[in-house]
Amino acid sequence: VFLPSRTANSQDVPAPPCTVAVVAPVPVVRQWLTPPELVDEAIWVIREAVALATKTVLLFSGGKDSAVLLHLAHLAFAPDPAPLELLHVDTSHNFDETISFRDDAAARYALPLTVASVQDSIDAGRVEDHGGSRNALQSTTLLDAVAHHRYDVILGGARRDEDRARAKERIFSHRGPSGAWDPDRQRPEPWNLTSGDLEPGGQLRVFPLSNWTEADVWRFTVDTGLEHSSLYFAHRRVVVERDGLLVPVSALVPAAPGEAAVERTVRFRTVGDATCTAAVASTASNPLEVLAETIAADVSERGATRIDDRSGDAAMEDRKTGGYF
């Protein structure tokens, strides 16, 4: 496997051990292996995206899906550098661990990283901050950055198993100049073939991990020894219990009056806007243990961790029709 070497001056994120002794009784069955056709499909899609593009950008947040996507983009062209740039749409509602992981990864893969700030969009009056989650506000910042840098093909790490609106989107999602997803007007995509012709001024959102599951992300991580932010592994953290979710306490999210802030051993299944990402109780400290937990989980990734998607059964669809990725 072509793994980029760590640079000497990279910030040292404590990396989880990737080769570990298995603790639980683990049968050697297929569910522990990454289906090779998913990797081949993702690489095929990434190469197709780059070939269709004038300028390709990969949305990289430092989260696990974008880390897998970045590594696949690297593998698709290695040992040549991947012909693309990285963009992080930064809500400023971050976990410190995500940001240091993001910068470290960009340096290791030696790819240019642009950070587009939602706070700048708010300060410039482009969007209005109503408090709370900034997930929906990201769309304007993303579209402004795409226009400024003239990106026409945008790779994202979204998976169809995340959400029922995502389950409906094409791998190659043609969007108009406003970036809006129109679920009633998707182009046919038989055999994963797409019409490479963009609408005038339009853009192409491409999702190479469409057919991956949360467990596949961890299978691939185990297979390749890929690193992820330390947030995904068990650690001690001060949280409050709110509506059945473990909400991390921070300067952005203080404990409400009457709520008991307690230190628990937790990890994150998804990492997003820090004001709306909940943790799960877990002692899984390495990718194999996380994989075992993911396969056995009784609650979906979003159900367990996303506070904002509980606000309605079409929350994701509404964001996507507004230009969200």
Partner: protein
Amino acid sequence: MGSISRVAFLGGVDDGKSTLLGRTLVAAGALRSDQLDDLAEASRRHRDTDVDLSLITDGLRHERAASITLDVAYRHLVIGDRRVLLADCPGHRSLTANAFTGVAGAQVAVVLVDASRGPTEQTWRHLALSRLAGVSSVVVCVNKMDLVGFDPHVFDALRASTFATASTLSVPVSVVLPVSALTDCNISAPASELSWFDGPTLFDALSSEPTPAQIPGGHPLRLPVQFARGGVAFGSVACGEVAVGDTLRVLPRGGSARVMAVSTWRDRRQHAASGAVRVELSGAIPARGDVLAAPNDPPLTTTSLAGEFCWFSTSPPHPDAPVVVQLGPQRLPARASCGAVLDLERGAWHLGSVEPSSIVELFLDLDTPAWVDTAVPALRRVLVSDPTTGEVLAAGSIREGRR
């Protein structure tokens, strides 16, 4: 052999497809507790009922409001020890392009028939689309058996007419099953109401379907070039094997190149027989759209293609209108003219008007030569689109190239 079976569910409006799919997901344990809670809440809100299984995959606002599947949804599940990726395809005729998106790429199609009204034109269309899309087997489910009192005579008559039409349309129907999605009859387990039926359950049929090799064995190398930089070509081996030291033809460009190095995403190696590869070459420099081929048995290069297509556009093909043909990584300016249209009821080809969702014979005259290999599915599949709007007009499969 792939480790994931891709299965498409197809059925006409009100044949009960979304309910069957929801039942399948519930019976396979594919829904987690919060998703079941969401389903119960949505059922109360949209349907005023306890659990409406069809709401599981109808995920969009318009779909839930109108009780109709508008576009394909994809869901993961495990049946037996087989991992399955399900594509829930819309049934309405005006949404054929979306249904074709779902079935093209699947190995198995599950086509529904409503036992109380029998097969419709949409049933035959779905069978014909399954064949055109290249599925290796079709499972026909005669659903709503409860509405006909689980009568074996009704089922036998429907099974006979299904096999008869499938045969005239050359559709590889492997089995016809009686089921009732509402009550999980013969879906995950045999049902006492259907004790007269000695065939498999739907789950048996799906877990025993072999995942077929798409690539013919012993076929010479075909490596379409997706992306190239200098003397380095990136692509996926469609068939055959590429090995260090080989001398390969570069088509349609002409010339030959020697393979200096081969690597996959895992490692550098001496040869590769499938999947995504990177190949270093010395000699002719390929570009996107070329194919690297075995020198003694190259694919046909031609400017004239004929094949069978599903026509999607609301305006019929016009022989003077420019189109773009995509065949693998080739993007080819062309003109398209229409031959015969498939009569779904009789399985016969005749001259007639082309409507959206018609299955038609198209002749493609290319401005420049292209390569094609009709023996390999990935090397004969084609999209035809409008060069100005990007609208996909048709998708299909080349049957014949003429020198």
